[in-house]
């Protein structure tokens, strides 16, 4: 099952907080798509997910300086 989270309107620390809480609710093997801004969220959200043992499957730029991240729990 694939979940989706848009954190482009969030600011630090809620960018990380929302991703962490969403991943905590999901089952192992489920995927989460995260739409995020460049800068702080793009630099730190993928890294923090990998540190927690989740896999970042893709990280693609979209329109308007945003990125779409695909994470598997």
């Amino acid at each position: 099952m694939k979940h989706f989270l848009d954190i482009t309107r969030e600011t630090c620390p809620m960018t990380f907080v929302k991703v962490k809480l969403q991943l905590a609710k999901m089952e192992t093997g489920e995927q989460l798509e995260v739409l995020l801004n460049e800068g702080e969220p793009l630099e730190n959200v993928p890294r923090s997910c990998e540190e927690q043992g989740y896999s970042v499957l893709s990280n693609e730029p979209t329109d308007n300086d945003k990125h779409l991240l695909l994470i598997e729990k």
Binding site: P13, M14, K20, E51
Partner: protein, 162 residues
């Protein structure tokens, strides 16, 4: 949730009961917890006001002095801004500015801290002075501890004093 291999630890001493400093403490705490750190928040002295179950001004305690102090300090809704407080108007204005800029407000940060499982402990000595009991605190207060317990448990942590 996957168990991280080597989780970094942070302990935050929340001494100040100022609104802005409490926002800073909860911002660091939630940011740290969300980025794979084990976080403990140790509330002492003025910081205890943020943990009171009653969020407004209540004369908690037995002695006249304690009741007066607790009433005047109030709870989390009465935390003053450390500068330019203007008799309590500024924290309300600041909260509006935070909302306008999509920045998490203090109640949202506190809620996030609880959801992230941040460990909340209260200082035994400060509670004794102010005659505040554990039953006067929010239920998320895990335990009431002394400084020795706090230091033992924070031995491999970064300690931040706010």
């Amino acid at each position: 949730m996957n168990l991280p291999v080597d989780k970094k630890k942070i302990s935050i001493v929340c001494f100040s009961g100022d609104f802005d400093k409490m926002v800073a403490a909860f911002t660091v705490a939630t940011g740290a917890a969300a980025t794979n750190r084990e976080v403990t928040m140790f509330f002492t002295f003025w910081g205890l006001n943020a943990l009171k179950k009653k969020k407004g001004r209540v004369a908690t305690g037995n002695s006249l002095m304690a009741r007066a102090f607790n009433f005047l300090m109030g709870g989390i809704n009465n935390l003053p801004l450390s500068r330019l407080n203007f008799f309590g108007a500024s924290p309300i204005l600041m909260t509006k500015m935070m909302k306008d800029h999509n920045v998490a407000t203090l109640p949202e940060l506190v809620e996030a801290a609880h959801a992230l499982g941040i460990r909340i402990v209260a200082c035994e000595m400060a509670m004794k002075i102010l005659e505040v009991e554990k039953r006067d605190m929010i239920e998320e207060v895990e335990s009431v501890v002394g400084v020795a317990t706090f230091l033992n448990e924070s031995e491999n942590s970064h300690i931040i004093f706010i």
